[in-house]
Every structure is written in C-alpha cells, then in structure tokens.
Amino acid sequence: MSETMELRAKRGLAFYARIYRKVLAQDLKSKMSYRADFIISTFGMIMTNAVGFISFYILFQNFPSINGWNYYEMLFFYGFSLIALTPLQCLFDNNWSLRYAVESGDFIKYCFRPINVFFYFISEVFDVKGLGQLAFGIMVLVYAWIHLAIPVTVITMVQLVLLLITASLFMIAIMNFAAATCFWIQRSGYVMVLMFRFKDYAKYPASIFDGLFKIIFTFVIPIAFIAYYPALVILRPDEIPLLSYLSPALGMLFFYLSYKFWMLGARKYNGTGS
C-alpha cells in the first residue's frame, strides 16, 4: 500500500491520458450495446436545445433588443454558453451518480485504486449525447458571428478557443461543489438539480443585474463567467472589462477549489461498513 501511495504522487499527465483512453473505450463499448437508448437520448438532447432556441426566438419577436444587446449579440452569448457547457455534459456527467455511489457504499471501490480518486470516478462515464449540444452551439455561434461581421483572424480564433475552455471550468466547478455535498448531507440531490438550473441563465448578459445580484452571479454562483465576460473579449474588443481578462485565471482557480472540496469529502468517506 505504501508503495502505491508513493507511485501516486509521481504519475504524470501521460499516464492519466493513457488510462483515460482505455476507460473511455470501455464506456463507449458498453453504450453501443444499448442503441435505442443512444438514439432516444440524442433525440432528447436535440429537443431540449431546439425548445431553448424557440423560447429565445419568441422572446425576441416581442422585444427586439434587451439592455442594448441586439438579437445577434444575444445569439452569440447563447451559442457561446452552449459550447462552454459541453465539457460538463460530456466529461463530468458521472457526478450525477456520485450520491448513489456514496449512499450504497459502492464509492469505496474508487478509493482502492492507485490513481487519483476524482480522476478515476469522473473518467468512468463519457456522455456522447453532449456532442449534439456542441454541434448546436457551434451552429448558433457561427450564425451570429457571420451576422455580426466579426473579423476571423488567428488572434480571435486563439482567443475564442482559450476562452471557451476556461469558461467551461466554471460550470464544472459549480457542479463539483454541488455533487460533493453528498459526502456531508444525505439525499443532497436537490442541490445539484438547483445548481444545474442556473446554467440556463448563463446565456443572458450579466449587465441586466445590478448591485448585490451582480456580485452574487459573478463571484458566488459565477454564471456570468460562462458566457458574458469571456464573450465580451470578442464582442466588444474596444472596451473589455478587467473581469474578462481575469476570467481564465478565475476559472482555473474556481475549478481547483471545487476539486479540493470534492477530494476533502472523498477523504472523509469511510464506506457504509458493508
């Protein structure tokens, strides 16, 4: 045991990448055996996105602009948020089963492997249907991009990719925090359900909030960073606020804190005794 503990510290990125590939292949193989489920789930994913888009469209039929943002700028936020939420859907979906694993005692199996517990638990599931959301998000973003006539340069492209990756960390971190509450509170599913609802509001510009709520949605439940602040870098390059510059660093910090919180719970976990 002590030997494996030492090994754990030395394992690098290449090692984890190799493991991830193997676990992923296993997961996809087992998913493929339920083809009907895959088709229905993908259809469900497309439906939710379509319905989200229809509500958005209906809103703009009645109100041509919101808080000084026109239709295409709002679409830009919308597409941006969908893409930034994809890594959460695809890679971190297993957080939803955390509370079942903890309550039933199955979680103990993850503690006995000589690899990082968080990594092992999260890597077990890859949610393919999230890719439908990605495709939808890219379509919306490209459509808005063309209509806004934003120049396509190497710089904007690099910015876009970098901002999208760091923006995705915020919602992942929120859900890590929410999922990890189950280590302390029994039947804490409602915390996750509650937090997950906030992601739907990431597509609206944070400029609609004032005072206290701006602070809450920026620093406490940081949904303003999922689309609004990072997207400003591309939408309004002349007047980028400080928070937009800080968003990549804040994303990493927030993710790191949520990881620490998750691991704190995992370390406290003793199993159910069975």
Partner: protein, 267 residues
Amino acid sequence: MRKYSALTRAGIMQELQFRLGTFATIFGNLIYLTLIYNLWKAIYASAGTEVVNGMTFSDTIIYLVLATALFNFLEMFIVWDMSRSIQSGAIVLDLLKPLKYRRLKFFEYFGRNVMTFFTTFLPTFIIVFFITKGAIKIGLNIIFFMISVVLALMVNFYIEMFVATICLHTESTWGINIVKESIVLLFSGATIPLVFFPEKFRIVVECMPFRCIYDTPLNILLQKPGYTMDTGLWTMLGMQVVWCAGLSVVSRMFWDISVKRITVNGG
C-alpha cells in the same frame, strides 16, 4: 376510500421528513426568482412601452413566479420512480397489491402535493402578493384558481403517467423524460407566457393539453380577458375537465395494454 387516504397520509409524512430539502428549494427559488425578475425588468425597460401583448411588467412577473411555484408544487418524479422500480423489480410488489396501480400512485403523489402546496406554493404566493402590492385581485377568482389548479394537477398526473408507461417499453428513461420536460415547459407557458407566442403558433399550442397545467390557472388568477366570469371562464374550466377526462382514458388504455407485456428482471 380509507386505503387511499392512508396512502395520501404516507405521502405527507414522507415529504415532511426532508425539511432540509424544502429549505434548500425555497432558498434556491429566491435566487432563481431574482434572476427572472432582473431579466424581465431589463426586457421591459428595453421595450419602451408599459404593456406588451396585454401584459404589464408585474403581470408577467406574477405569471412567471407563480408558474415556477406551481412547477415545484406539481413536480412529480413518476417517470424516474417507475423506471427505477422496473429495473429493480420492485414494481411487482406494487402490482400485486389489491389496489389499482395508477390510483395507488396518484394518491401517493397527492399526499406530497398537499404538503408542497403549503411549503412552497403558499409562501411564494404570499410574498408575490405583497411585493406586487395589489396586482393580484382577491375575490372569487381565488376559488376558481384553486379549482383550476386541482384540474391542472390531474392533467399533469395523466401526462406523467402516460410518459412513465412508455418506460415499460424502453429503458431510455433519461431521453424520454427530457423530451417530456422540454415540451411541457414550453407549451404550458412556464418559460414564456403563451400570449407572447406568435399568433399562428399560439393557436396550435392552445389546442394542446399542456396549457391546462400553467397557463389556464394563472390567467384565471390574473383575471385576463377570456378568463373572467363574464368572458369564458367556464369554457376554460370546461376545457380542463375535457382534457382531464380524455387524457385519463388514453393513459389508462395505454397502461392496460403495456402492463401485459412487462418484463421484470428478478425482483
């Protein structure tokens, strides 16, 4: 009848057990409601007019806030519960009981709904009533609203039950449930009041049963034209009753056909 009231009581007790969950739901709703409030305040500020499609800002807020409260109050997890009990085999125990399965579920959930009415809907309603300072008229409309909500609860139950029955045929619960949820939330007016919908689209949506769940009771409460005693309240309530009866028959028939071919692993 006594056995069903026992089930209702059990549902109430079960709901009482998770007080922490109720507090979290109320707290979460408060944050959620400020989100909606700020969003629509900005939307109305950009519109330049006070009234859009016959709805003022406070009408819209009351509508959406109470729709959220109704959503929490009416929320059922029949689809999840049933698919889990099919997969574990526990459904057999319920089917063997000398009670009708669908009625058993209805009264179980009814107990919970009674409880959530007092813990989530009523507090929200009182807060909204005082914040909007008299935008909600208190009169006979409250009684009709209550009748309409009970009908909404039944329509919602039959839709849930219909969708849950699909789970007897497939194991893809997540997909089925998400399709149902997105359709119900859009077409019932829970996300955007139905009056904002484009004319042609709205006519189609108004022919569907989903509006009975949120749109009808809320419009009755707000006493919008077409929903008052003089202008068609009875038509609206009648429509709810018709949908209720229709869906009850359809979901019952679907259940009766499906339950014959149920396969349960062990149990």
